[in-house]
């Protein structure tokens, strides 16, 4: 069973829109919540990450919102661009070495 549940499986937005991807977890021992971005033909690469003592983190046009009590976190892509079209994975980690990944969301940004 997946330890991190991710939705939706795919979404399409127009350029400038704000795709939102949601993830939920059960294990309160998780202490690190990264998002990975994967382009076709490439391996996933770290995009942005948050820890449970913070409710929001922004890096450029990417924002993570974190709700510790609900055990949920989400990725928002502000002013999305066609170059943001990729597959996004949320993940959760504990112990400093092993990550559990969500099912992935394919985001398509139409010009």
């Amino acid at each position: 069973q997946q330890q991190v549940k991710q939705s939706p499986q795919s979404l399409i937005v127009q350029k400038g829109g704000i795709p939102i991807i949601n993830c939920a977890y059960e294990n309160t021992a998780f202490d690190y919540f990264p998002w990975y971005q994967q382009f076709p033909g490439k391996g996933p690469a770290l995009l942005i990450a948050i820890r449970p003592d913070v409710s929001e983190k922004k890096e450029g046009r990417f924002t993570i919102s974190f709700n510790k009590s609900a055990k949920q976190f989400s990725l928002h892509i502000m002013d999305s661009q066609p170059g943001d079209s990729a597959t996004y994975f949320c993940a959760a980690g504990k112990g400093g070495y092993k990550l559990s990944f969500g099912a992935g969301t394919t985001v398509t940004v139409r010009a």
């Binding site: 690190y32 990264p34 391996g43 400093g96 070495y97 092993k98 990944f101 969500g102």
Partner: protein, 114 residues
Amino acid sequence: DVKVTQSSRYLVKRTGEKVFLECVQDMDHENMFWYRQDPGLGLRLIYFSYDVKMKEKGDIPEGYSVSREKKERFSLILESASTNQTSMYLCASSPRWHRNYGYTFGSGTRLTVV
């Protein structure tokens, strides 16, 4: 440029064959991982190694084995390939402990079993 290299980009094998997928990293990382990526299922951990000759089962180890004889190389072995092992396989490495986990992924090997 540090990297994780997977020896094959595409592989086609026959049912019942023994298949070796190779992964090499040049970052002197202690941890190495094999994941399987399938649509709708995301990245699922097959095996994990935290040191030479050490291994730990992941979430879906059935039908797979691994070998780590040298720190930089981690091999995934399909003892008798089956069609349900057709998938994208991703290797990753990371330092023994890293505050941000420090995962670096390879570009993947797409395996088709016919």
